[in-house]
């Protein structure tokens, strides 16, 4: 009778040990799964970062291009204005150059040394 009781108790203890061992195995799997998920999250973050970098770069490049176009448009308009003003002053400016080129030699011709 006592032997039977001891066997029963040992059986119970064995079953308990098995349950705990199984639980420990499950723990390893739970942690491994969590680590796997972290790996996937990080991988996704890397891909997202690449896309994001392209989006951000495009956004600022486009803004820069818009500004660039406006600056160049203004500059070209200003250059045209300069040419128009210069065109209307060309004749008097050329006269001024010619006068300057001959001023000293005419002085020399006209004055006694």
């Amino acid at each position: 009778m006592a032997v039977e009781a001891l066997k029963l108790i040992r059986g119970g203890e064995e079953e308990g040990r098995k349950l705990i061992e199984e639980a420990k195995e499950s723990v390893a799997k739970i942690i491994k799964d969590a680590e796997e998920e972290v790996k996937k999250l990080k991988e996704k973050a890397r891909v997202d970062e690449k896309n994001l970098a392209v989006q951000i770069s495009d956004k600022y490049a486009k803004e820069g291009e818009v500004e660039e176009k406006a600056i160049m448009k203004d500059a070209e308009a200003e250059a045209e204005k300069l040419k128009t003003t210069a065109g209307s002053n060309l004749d008097s400016t050329v006269n001024c150059c010619v006068r300057k080129n001959f001023r000293t030699c005419l002085n020399f011709f006209q004055r006694k040394v």
Binding site: A23, I31, L52, T93, K100, K112, V113
Partner: protein, 216 residues
């Protein structure tokens, strides 16, 4: 307590231990994932900030380059018109050979250029100087400068105290007009061709040209 009760108690304790182990494991797993998410979020925030900074720098670089280009466009327009003014001035100077300038014939202008050059050469010298005048082929053929003219100029300069004798050189120069006066020994010469005078004046002329051309 009977054996069955003992076995039940062992099983209950084992189950409780299992539940505790599983619960801790789940908590750990959740913590690991939560910490990873927080880390990713932080990194993402830093990444966005860095990319935004790079983006702003790139935009500023584009704008800076555009401003430089714009300056060049304006500068090119100015240079084009300055060049045009100088070219037209040179063309008009060439016309002076035919029509003279302000009532002075081309011969008179050459006389002035010869005097100017000769005076520069003898400046500060007390020794007598023998100078020769070089002309372009066309000017020599048209006899714009004659030996008689040179005699007169020599006399005029010599009257100032330094004996000068000017003569015509057989050497010809390539020029639209003007003269070169050179010492007979060839050591010193003054280039008074139109092209050289224009080049000499161009620095000071530029300021005047810019002022005249671009003032409304």
């Amino acid at each position: 307590m009977g054996a069955k009760e003992i076995v039940d108690k062992i099983k209950d304790e084992a189950n409780a231990e299992c539940e505790k182990i599983m619960s801790e494991a789940k908590e750990n797993a959740e913590r690991i994932i939560k910490e990873a998410r927080e880390e990713i979020e932080l990194q993402n925030k830093k990444f966005i900030e860095a990319e935004e900074r790079k983006g702003v720098e790139e935009e500023e670089r584009i704008v800076r380059a555009a401003r430089l280009n714009a300056r060049k466009v304006r500068w090119d327009a100015e240079e084009e018109m300055i060049g045009k003014a100088l070219d037209e001035a040179m063309d008009r100077i060439k016309e002076i050979k035919r029509g003279g300038f302000k009532g002075n014939s081309y011969s008179n202008i050459l006389t002035g250029l010869i005097k100017d050059a000769a005076m520069s050469i003898i400046a500060g010298s007390s020794a007598s100087s023998e100078l020769e005048v070089m002309l372009s082929e066309g000017d020599a053929d048209a006899s714009f400068v004659t030996p008689d003219m040179l005699k007169k100029i020599s006399a005029e300069i010599s009257a100032g105290g330094v004996n000068v004798r000017l003569s015509l050189s057989n050497e010809r120069i390539k020029s639209a007009g003007g003269i070169i006066v050179r010492g007979k020994d060839g050591k010193i010469e003054v280039n008074n061709t139109f092209e050289q005078r224009m080049a000499r004046f161009s620095t000071s002329l530029r300021e005047e040209i810019v002022k005249n051309l671009f003032t409304k």
